[in-house]
Symmetry: none
Subunit: 225 residues, 2 copies
């Protein structure tokens, strides 16, 4: 589940990113409206969280711009203002939900679930907390991975990468996509971290000839169940 957070206040964005990541979401942070329209618009987000007060552009303007460019991703607006007028204009221009700061983090999570649940329903996808591929079990609620019953100790980054691969099961994902989704890096800075982490994952989850991660030369990797 990939979420784009558009927020220029460092304090709040840190809090959001950290909290959402701790809840298992893959989060990318963008600090200004311009970059959203330039760099991030073509990525398929599951949800966009948009602050209504940005330095370079009004959040509602950005919302309008996105909808104008036919971006139909669910958008949750975030604002310090409690004015009804703001709520109205945000929802009128196509926001899917609206939350006023300060808010309870659990309420944010529950609203995110509501928004993305509807999306999943539309996509006719069934989200599962328990996944199994051969001997490999993944429990997403408990962040627990086991192989033939034995626990597999994965670092946070390794776990995130695994989840991303599993979410795109059967699809080839590129290094850039992975850098994007798992590392939050949107530019190529000539790193081979992805390769290294694929290697880590393989050594931990591929045992006794059970192979899950396949190399697609020149393109990326693919997870097969």
């Amino acid at each position: 589940m990939q979420i784009l957070v558009v927020e220029d206040d460092n304090r709040i964005s840190n809090f959001l990113v950290k909290g959402l990541e701790e809840c298992g979401y893959l989060v990318t942070l963008c600090k200004n409206a311009e970059d959203v329209l330039k760099q991030y618009i073509n990525i398929e987000w599951d949800l966009i969280i948009l602050d209504i007060m940005l330095a370079d552009m009004d959040g509602v303007q950005l919302l309008q711009a996105l909808r104008y460019k036919k971006v139909y991703t669910p958008i949750l607006m975030l604002s310090a203002l409690n004015s009804v007028q703001d709520k109205i204009s945000a929802l009128d221009y196509g926001a899917d939900d609206y939350l006023t700061k300060p808010f309870h983090f659990d309420e944010l999570i529950s609203r995110i679930r509501a928004l993305t649940r509807r999306r999943q329903y539309e996509q006719l996808e069934t989200p599962k907390a328990e996944l199994q591929f051969g001997q490999l079990h993944i429990n997403r609620e408990q962040y627990k991975v086991t192989w033939a019953g034995e626990p597999v100790e994965l670092s946070p980054r390794e776990y995130k990468l695994l989840i991303y691969l599993v979410e795109n099961i059967g699809k080839t994902v590129s290094r850039v996509q992975m850098l994007n989704a798992v590392w939050g890096i949107t530019f190529d800075n000539h790193t081979n971290v992805v390769d290294v982490y694929i290697s880590y994952l393989r050594s931990k989850i591929e045992k006794q000839d059970e192979k899950y991660i396949f190399t697609v030369k020149g393109v990326g990797y693919m997870f097969k169940g």
Copy 2:
């Protein structure tokens, strides 16, 4: 699971009652606002579905009346209007969700699940006054914690944190969630109070190799019984 449907249009109410009953809910139908306030107000519903257009009273008025009388049952508003103003006023006056006709029945179900799930979560506050995990006893009525009969002196904050962990037993809770739930709303994430208090708790309740609080690296903590 008991649901009260307040709806005066026969076509719609039939559809709702039939559909909900087929999904396993116990449904009661009420055709006017007056009866809700007279007859049905004292029953403990799990959910109330309220049409915004009733013959004898505006749905939002009824909603207000219910909340005024301290009925905190989750309420889902139903309306043919897609006006943002209605949505806002409904939500402002204490509706928990809002659905516009015509709607997909599956979406209704999914929203019902969301609302009643949250309720179940909230109801975890009142289940058992006496809890026991190994040698650890927690009496929630007396705010008293003992280990092997010996009283454990916990400060208010420590106690609150313990209760929050216990309420989420078996689930990983993040630092941000704990900050939110135990310390109140804050965007501050440059603090390690949570770690410190986990440490305090451990030193007070984990004795003789009885371990309750487990670290989930990179994510948070989990209480196991």
